[in-house]
């Protein structure tokens, strides 16, 4: 049918949701069997445009329900309630190596969801859709308070849940790229956990003194959290991704000050010089950089830098010493760190030490390194610069989009359950 479909009703519920909440996209009032494309468009903070789309055919009542009906093609297929978000990719003509990350968590991510006639794959921007709505995706629930923290020389942001408290606390660490990344901490605060996002590679003190922080920096962060009047001092967890895992395991196993109620380590490893400072640990990785491989597309594969897993006990955190529950989240297609091999080695160490009852491993086939909160678009590779590197390179993170997106959703849910069981 060529006649233009009019009066199409498009609704997304909720129209304002948290980043980890599902929504229901409903198209109504079209002709039965009508072919249409549901399209998502997002312009991220650095100005790049991202899009996703699914092809649908309306049922006998003239309705398409994205949560129940299969997409017949597009950037995702099958029944995928959240495909419009996790399959977002840079629009044609964009620069290569992009990664979507929200740096300002006080404003929502805005996504325009539209309906177009027919099964389209390109040229959306040149057409007028049949209908369009705006959806807000928030990293902060209402009432969550964002508090910049500079005491003790820290560069950090504390997110406090609404309410009187006291709340369990959490130290949130990202990886080797540095910067103060807040979105996971703000999301955790939206789930009732007072979370401190910590910049430990590029904090103000390092920029000014040109010296990397020592172990005391993390112990200070722990103390700041512990002493907060609305934080439950004996219920503090630590969550680290990538290099953040290295720090988390080190603190959990060796620190006299940091007493964790539980720890979550995503896409990381226990391999590090055990007595090393932050700088020395980074130096150890750099020393092995000759083992870097390159993919056919010239993307850097760094997983071999820590392989084979050493047998020398001075080169891996003694996880047999751990006294708190540990959740390891690993992608089996991680091309950046040998997270899976490390997890297997940690398991063996803990079995020998008799504390393996504390360990839970979530291992996801075909998931890559960047296991982010759910519905974050999958970046199989992107431009990246570690803090001690001179230039940006295209890093291969790994993962196949559908499997990786499922892993993100599942891992987040299980992480929240793990934190809830241990902290509340």
């Amino acid at each position: 049918m060529d006649r233009k479909q009019c009066c199409v009703k498009l609704s997304v519920q909720p129209s304002r949701g948290l980043m980890d909440e599902k929504f229901i996209v409903l198209v109504q009032n079209v002709w039965p069997g009508f072919q249409l494309t549901v399209h998502a468009l997002h312009q991220c903070e650095d100005g790049h445009s991202w899009e996703a789309f699914g092809h649908y055919a309306a049922d006998a009542t003239g309705t398409v329900n994205v949560s129940e009906d299969p997409s017949l093609g597009g950037t995702y297929s099958g029944v995928e309630p959240m495909g419009l978000l996790w399959s977002l990719r840079p629009v044609p003509g964009s620069k290569p190596g992009l990664r979507m990350r929200k740096m300002n968590v006080q404003t929502p991510m805005e996504v325009t969801i539209s309906v177009y006639q027919g099964h389209q794959t390109e040229g959306f921007v040149d057409q007028v859709p049949l209908a369009g709505v705006l959806v807000e995706r928030w990293y902060m629930a209402p009432g969550v308070r964002r508090i910049p923290i500079t005491e003790g020389g820290l560069t950090a942001t504390l997110f406090l849940p609404p309410g009187p408290g006291p709340f369990p606390g959490l130290l949130d660490l990202w990886g080797g790229g540095g910067k103060l990344v807040e979105y996971r901490a703000s999301l955790l605060a939206s789930h009732g956990i007072a979370s401190l996002a910590l910049d430990y590679l590029t904090p103000k003190i390092t920029i000014e003194t040109r010296k990397m922080v020592g172990i005391e920096y993390f112990e200070t962060a722990y103390r700041v959290l512990q002493q907060h009047p609305q934080v439950f001092s004996s219920r503090i967890a630590m969550l680290g991704l990538s290099f953040g895992t290295s720090i988390t395991l080190k603190m959990a196993a060796y620190s006299e000050v940091v007493k964790l109620r539980c720890a979550v380590c995503v896409s990381g490893s226990h391999v590090q010089p055990v007595d090393g400072s932050v700088e020395q640990i980074l130096g150890y990785f750099h020393k092995n950089s000759g083992k870097t491989r390159f993919s056919d597309e010239n993307e850097a594969i760094w997983r071999d830098l820590l392989l084979p897993i050493p047998t020398d006990s001075s080169l891996k955190v003694d996880v047999g010493r751990l006294q708190c529950p540990l959740l390891l989240v690993v992608g089996e297609d991680d091309q950046n760190w040998p997270a899976y091999e490390s997890a297997m080695d940690m398991k063996e160490m803990m079995e020998r030490a008799g504390n393996s009852h504390l360990l839970t491993i979530l291992s996801y086939p075909n998931a890559g390194h960047l296991i982010e909160p759910p519905y974050t678009p999958h970046a199989r590779s992107s431009f990246f610069r570690t803090v001690n590197a001179r230039e940006k390179m295209m890093a291969l993170w790994g993962g196949e989009t559908v499997a990786h997106s499922r892993a993100q959703e599942d891992a987040w849910r299980k992480t929240l359950v793990f934190l809830r069981e241990n902290l509340f």
């Binding site: 479909q5 009019c6 009066c7 009703k9 498009l10 519920q13 909720p14 129209s15 304002r16 949701g17 948290l18 909440e21 009032n29 079209v30 002709w31 039965p32 009508f34 006998a60 009542t61 003239g62 805005e110 325009t112 539209s114 007028v128 859709p129 049949l130 209908a131 369009g132 709505v133 705006l134 959806v135 807000e136 928030w138 629930a141 209402p142 009432g143 308070r145 406090l160 849940p161 609404p162 309410g163 009187p164 408290g165 006291p166 709340f167 369990p168 939206s190 009732g192 002493q227 907060h228 009047p229 609305q230 934080v231 439950f232 001092s233 004996s234 219920r235 809830r420 902290l423 509340f424």
Partner: protein, 465 residues
């Protein structure tokens, strides 16, 4: 750690739940004490989904991690634009897994009882000690209504302690992407709300009642459902008699909607409440300039004296003002004034002349106007003219005059300035809270369905539900 440091950290947090300094200090003390003594106890977890919603969307309130069989009170608190506090609460008992689900469990007391997923909103009332005759109406629709939802332990005396947990929720009249435009053209004053998207959209002219002023919230909500909606200001509060308004004012307002580039000109309806309903019916029946596609009339009537001016309406009310009664609280009851006016045939619009579908929504306990009797009379007229297929009547038991969007608190009697005498009285609108709230929820759903049916085209008979 000093109390001052505690207070400075906690002040912002607790401001919304502790509105006295003493209460604030008590909360902080309890918080600090709880932290040190509760090292083994489970922390209750309170969640509301969604935390940001439109005002007509339902939510789920869940408390977890309580001890089993634990008595708790779930409480809502809202600080209005007028600086009043409104609250509601229900008494619950956790199940064997320590859970309370407001959507599934029964409330055993409070401002509502039974299984009431949205009771924390519709049963809200001003807190003890508030001024009398209050009504809750959001004037600034660009910001959400903020509500604190909290869980306290115990039923009796639950307020004596700080809550176990508290969250903040947002309730919006405007969906993201809805645009708000001030209208001051062709002599018409109002606010236009346009849905997101390219359009074109069906349109609505939206009119409130005898209180006057410019109320935007229903139009904002209608735009959030896909209608370009003009909230019309047609007189200032208390100024009805001097309002220099001819019928033409409303026709022009209708055309402003109809002529808008994003509106489908043959799909513009009219929505009115109370006095606004009279205008709605008059436009549908008598206007030679406008042709509404459909009409929604809440708590309305068809009494529009010859001359067709609003001042004429007040004139009729004046003449029958002796019929105003007061109840035992001295609240004004005007329904007999309406009954007297209805006895005069020339005062009534000839509803047999209507040519578009019309939905009448009324409450049987309307103490302000005999709207059900009016609906009966309208039905008669339309039947006699062979037009009854155009009429849909919704009449609700124990429901009063102010039938608002769903989950709004029920206003049985509120402050009102009588146009004639400039007196400040308390007007009895009627209704009992629970049935009135059910009516608000049910009627809104049916109104939206009615509007969708008549203003959004159905591509084929098969697609029509």
């Amino acid at each position: 750690m000093s109390l001052e440091r505690c207070l400075s950290f906690s002040r912002a947090t607790l401001r919304s739940v502790c509105f006295t300094k003493q209460h604030l200090q008590r909360c902080v003390h309890i918080c600090v004490r709880r932290s040190s003594t509760m090292s083994q106890a489970a922390l209750p977890i309170l969640s509301v989904f969604p935390s940001r919603a439109l005002v007509d969307e339902k939510f789920k309130v869940l408390v977890e991690n309580l001890p089993p069989g634990c008595p708790v009170t779930i409480h809502s608190l809202h600080h209005s634009e007028d600086q009043d506090y409104w609250e509601a609460y229900g008494h619950y008992i956790s199940d064997d897994r320590g859970k309370v689900s407001v959507s599934d469990d029964l409330s055993f007391g409070g401002t509502y009882t039974g299984k009431e997923p949205m009771g924390l909103l519709w049963s809200m009332r001003p807190v003890l000690g508030s001024r009398k005759g209050l009504r809750l109406r959001k004037m600034n629709v660009c910001t959400p209504m903020l509500m604190d939802i909290s869980v306290y332990s115990r039923h009796d005396g639950f307020r004596d302690q700080a809550p176990l947990a508290s969250v903040l929720i947002e309730r919006w009249y405007m969906a993201p992407g809805v645009r708000r435009i001030d209208i001051r053209e062709r002599g018409v004053r109002g606010t236009l709300f346009i849905p997101p998207g390219p359009g074109p959209f069906p349109g609505l002219l939206d009119m409130w009642g005898g209180g006057g002023g410019l109320l935007e919230y229903r139009s904002a909500l209608l735009a959030s459902h896909g209608y370009v909606s003009l909230a019309l200001e047609y007189f200032s509060p208390g100024q009805l008699q001097t309002a220099d308004l001819e019928f033409n004012y409303f026709e022009t307002a209708f055309n402003i909607v109809k002529d808008h580039p994003q509106v489908m000109p043959h799909r513009v309806g009219i929505f009115g409440l109370s006095l606004g309903s009279i205008v709605t019916m008059a436009l549908a029946v008598e206007s030679r300039i406008v042709r509404p596609r459909c009409c929604v009339c809440i708590s309305g009537n068809h009494c529009f004296p010859p001359g067709r001016t609003l001042a004429g309406i007040t004139g009729e009310v004046d003449m029958n003002y002796d019929k105003v009664r007061v109840d035992e609280n001295n609240y004004h009851i005007w329904r007999d004034v309406g009954l007297a006016i209805m006895k005069e045939p020339s005062s009534k619009l000839d509803m047999g002349k209507i040519n578009c579908p019309i939905l009448l929504v009324n409450g049987h306990d309307d103490q302000n106007w005999p709207t059900v009797e009016s609906a009966e009379d309208i039905a008669e007229m339309m039947r006699a003219a062979g037009k009854e297929h155009l009429l849909t009547r919704l009449e609700y038991p124990d429901t009063g005059h102010l039938i608002e969007p769903p989950f709004s608190p029920h206003f049985r009697a509120t402050n009102f300035i009588v146009n004639l005498t400039k007196e400040k009285v308390i007007m009895l609108w009627g209704g009992q809270t629970k049935p009135h709230s059910d009516a608000q929820e049910d009627s809104w759903r049916r109104i939206l369905t009615f509007l969708q049916q008549h203003l959004y085209c159905s591509p084929s008979p098969k697609a029509r539900l």
